[in-house]
Amino acid sequence: MSTQRYFNPAIELMERNEIKNLQKKLLPKMVEYVYGRSMFHRKIFDKVGLKPMDVKSLEDLKKIPVVCKTDLEKAVKDFDDPMGGRKCVEEKPVFTFAPEFPAEGEIIYVSLSFGDITRLAEALARQWIMVGVGMGETVQVQGWSWDPLHMIVNPQIFPPGLSVTTASLLNCKTIPVEVMPEDIGRTVFMAKFFKPSTVLMSRKTLDAMVKFVEKEGINPKDLGYRTVVVRESKNVLSADERKIFEEKLGLKIQSMLDVRENLFYASDCLNIDGLHVWEDMYIVEVLDPEKLESVGLGEYGKLTITNLFAEVVPLVKYRSDVDVTLNFEACGCGRTHVRIIPQNYK
């Protein structure tokens, strides 16, 4: 088992008032940044007559208009720009990905700079330690090229001083594999040989794996996994689903949520008591989908994320489709950052 409990204790265990103070400093900066650089946000702010100077504290968050995926899609057409006017930097090289492919409607591309990759690499490093990955271990990462995750976690070599990845921060090896149910044999086959401690997969591929090992008569214990992290972009595993999978595989199952349009990644700790949000990187709110106002504590609503760190395509007040409630109490694991509790998660 890993000996390190936290990747960045100074941040992860921060007092709540310190977190608030940090956010209070970062929010106006981000608002000013996107107003000055993102045509998408400027248009939205201008529509309601909001100026960056109007946002001075966290209280002012409610003044900022909420944006959702439909707005992003519309902007692609309105600005006649694949990035929908969201791109804040022109002068730096960027890497562009497509988080998901809707059956209809516009594809929402996201871009990352070296700086963004570095910030996310650390966010993911905190998560990997949180789900029990040990320094130097092997992690199997299912993904596909369109998805930015592999660029953030796998061992890339970037020009000196420009960027790091999660694997390099934790001195981990990775096994990149396709997140494709049809190719589950490759994941299983490689796990048998290299015994990764952790695998990142999706609900669909996990389901395929359960069927595959049953059919092939493979004991899931022989794959070396200690933890299976199931990554979903909308519905994380329900408590019932988790239980069924855990029984079938005899492995610990953890959840990860990614709202990729806003480069948001959150996962639970070993206590499985909500998904930790790194509040030095994001402000989360839960909004009533109709009134677009914050719901009461303990009530469910739509997870709304303000990105505080991204250089290229940060979104402010981005309303996702994920139904959650929030828990601001310190977690049993010691982390003080807010936890999101998706519906049916507990």
Partner: protein, 444 residues
């Protein structure tokens, strides 16, 4: 001829006089042989069995004393010992940064491991090649690939960071189901430079036709394709025409040995970087080096990479070799690679390679995409049986086309042939590649 000729990523190495390359090789080969012998059980046993000591290898000519090994040998050793690398790994496992499988086109994949140092070398290999293929700083790039594929994601993304690109879109595999995503990216980002494997390119072409999009509108300047499916002159001309690109380049490689090669704007064979890879052509039956100008299986010794040293690896690929200095100014050896030796089939007493058939049928406009698979119904066959598809909009009479195919194949290869038309979707694929051989003997 393209304007980009005469420019190099690394002029000193790429245009190095032949004798200097040889000197460099002779220096490096001693080191790598010593490293392999001292750090890998696989090579120690191999050398000892052949009664060769590392000191016996004083130059690349001496390499012929070392027996050739092929992929299957690794698989057998892996299954016997349980060691995923069959005893070949020659660095401490703590130095490894990622594990990747080979494509597994000809069977169960073998595994590769890469260290940080080796990755730096591969980045050089690709940087030279991508520059040769027209990539320049500040360009916009779309690169299509599989996530586990041996040169992705740990290498190619790193390579692109060397070029400081304006925008780099990394795209997932284009299949008939996912080609629309790539089409979207091409339309919206208007990349000047793209890298897409050949079969996915066909899927994109089909998607374009479906949506009434002319690939010329993508405004791509340079295209890199192939990746295991050799780009013949017919295919290249077709791509130049349909995409209106300035040039189309062919890229190939062998995952097991971290080998990548590509042609230059003269399209006279693929440049192998000899400061990194030493190449020989051998007769696969006898293992002897073939006489100059003869075709043979290419055998590679990787002179640089330490994690997984490959000393005389039989690629199971047939090739021609050209040692003359290239018109582009590069001095490194050029190979024309025809295809996998395991795909050779025995028909009416002749060894037939799918590539032979491809080069015949792609000359017909209706089947320029050469989408076919050979039905291998017995170890030795008296007749060539093909399943194939044709371009429906160009074909008036499939029966008549079939007659022309039969005539052409029988004339060129002098074997009897039988053809069954199927749709493109019905053809078997191994990921992004059409399976050239459908082995019916295994199912029985």
């Amino acid at each position: 001829m393209s304007k980009i000729g005469g420019e190099y990523w690394d002029p000193k190495i790429e245009t190095m006089p032949k004798n200097e390359i040889k000197e460099l090789q002779n220096m490096k080969v001693k080191e790598i042989v010593k490293h392999a012998y001292n750090n890998s059980i696989f090579y120690r046993q191999k050398f000892d069995a052949a009664n060769v000591k590392p000191e016996d290898i004083k130059n690349v000519e001496d390499l012929k004393r070392i027996p050739i090994f092929r992929k299957d040998e690794l698989r057998v050793l892996r299954d016997k010992t349980g060691d995923p690398f069959g005893g070949l790994l020659s660095i401490p496992s703590s130095e490894i940064i990622s594990y990747n499988p080979s494509t597994g086109t000809t069977g169960i994949p073998t595994f590769m491991a890469i260290s940080r140092g080796d990755q730096q070398i591969l980045m050089d290999v690709f940087a030279r090649m991508h520059w040769m293929h027209g990539l320049r700083p500040n360009m916009k790039v779309v690169h299509e690939t599989l996530i586990w594929h041996w040169y992705i994601p740990t290498v190619i993304t790193s390579v692109y960071t060397k070029f400081s690109l304006k925008d780099f879109v990394l795209a997932g595999l284009a299949t008939p189901l996912t080609a629309n995503f790539l089409v979207d990216a091409l339309l919206k980002f208007k990349p000047e430079w793209i890298s897409v494997a050949y079969s996915p390119l066909l899927a994109i072409n089909i998607e374009c036709k479906k949506r009434g999009i002319d690939p010329k509108n993508f405004c791509v300047k340079y295209m890199q394709t192939g990746r295991g499916e050799p780009i013949t002159e017919t295919i290249r001309k077709e791509l130049l025409d349909t995409w209106n690109v300035e040039d189309v380049f062919d890229v190939g490689g062998v995952g097991e040995i971290w080998l990548a090669y590509g042609d230059c704007y003269t399209h006279t064979g693929a440049h192998f970087w000899e400061d990194i890879y030493h190449v020989e052509l051998i007769d696969p039956e006898t293992g002897e080096i073939v006489s100059p100008n003869e075709r043979g299986e290419f055998v590679v010794t990787n002179l640089e990479m330490k994690a997984f040293p490959t000393i005389r690896f039989g690629s199971e690929d047939y090739a021609d070799m050209n040692t003359e200095k290239c018109g582009c100014g590069r001095t490194h050896v050029r190979l024309t690679v025809y295809g996998r030796t395991p795909w050779l089939v025995d028909i009416a007493g002749k060894k037939i390679h799918p590539e032979f058939i491809k080069r015949i049928v792609e000359k017909f406009p209706e089947t320029r995409e050469a989408a076919f698979t050979i039905l291998k119904y017995a170890k030795t066959m008296d007749k060539l049986r093909l399943k194939a598809s044709y371009n429906e909009s160009l074909t008036k009479d499939p029966e008549e086309l079939k007659q022309r195919w039969v005539k052409a194949i029988e004339k060129e290869l002098k074997i009897p042939v039988e053809i069954e038309w199927v749709s493109w979707e019905e053809l078997p694929k191994i990921f992004h590649k059409i399976a050239r051989i459908t082995d019916l003997t295994k199912k029985a």
